[in-house]
């Protein structure tokens, strides 16, 4: 079975500052990892995914994430955030034996001017 832990429920940051949203997972099989963003009153939009290969994954809107197998982490980073990045961010995991996505509880990124 898989599980996901997002350590920070809220992350406040000033515009143009760097940000890291943390995600740790557990799994007994090979994992596939995803970050989704949810803007208010909208569904989830895929930011990026790790399936295999290079551990550094680049996504949309300038985000990237690094898969670290030894630390079972998949932290999301952006070097310079914008006001428009204010949203809820969800880390999710699935495994080689299932389509089922297990989501974390989310991190609310609040960008201040």
């Amino acid at each position: 079975a898989q599980s996901v832990t997002q350590l920070d429920s809220q992350v406040p940051v000033f515009e143009e500052a760097p940000v890291e949203l943390r995600c740790n997972y557990s799994s007994s099989v090979s994992v596939y990892l995803f970050w989704y963003v949810q803007y208010p009153n909208q569904g989830l939009q895929l930011l990026l995914k790790y399936l295999s290969g290079s551990t550094l994954v680049k996504g949309i809107n300038g985000f990237e994430a690094e898969f670290n197998k030894s630390q079972t982490s998949f932290h999301l980073r952006k070097p310079s955030v914008h006001i428009s990045d204010t949203a809820e961010y969800f880390c999710a995991v699935s495994g080689s034996n299932t389509d089922k996505l297990i989501f974390g509880t989310g991190t609310r990124l609040q960008v201040f001017p």
Binding site: Y36, G43, K49, K100, F103
Partner: protein
């Protein structure tokens, strides 16, 4: 391409009433998912269809929730009777191919259900 369509966007009912949600996935997508997202939590899978067959409904409260995907295209999720704890956003998602493909899921905007 058109995205996943859901209706209604909002619904308010009293407890013990029934309610139904509708989802039309992206054209050609074989797999359809219904999620429940309670305020402050991540989405939780309720049921997964591949074409018109059920792949996983292990977390669907079958005493009150039901879902169908006739003809393998659009789907309805029903709650009868509703309880206060069913207040949540119900998200529909679809993906292109079948099981274990790890194709990203595409989400609709959801239906926000409030139970009074």
């Amino acid at each position: 391409e058109a995205g996943v369509a859901q209706s209604p966007r909002y619904k308010i009912i009293e407890k013990r009433q029934s309610v139904a949600f509708w989802c039309n996935p992206i054209s050609g997508h074989a797999t359809l998912y219904w999620y429940q997202q309670i305020l402050g939590q991540g989405p939780k899978l309720l049921i997964q269809f591949q074409n018109n067959g059920v792949v996983d409904d292990s977390q669907l409260p079958k005493d009150r929730f039901s879902a169908e995907r006739l003809k393998g295209v659009d789907s309805t999720l029903k709650i009868q009777p509703a309880k206060l704890e069913d207040s949540a956003v119900y998200l529909c998602a679809s993906s292109p191919v079948g099981s274990y493909s790890n194709q990203p899921q595409h989400f609709g905007d959801g239906t926000r259900l409030s139970i009074l």
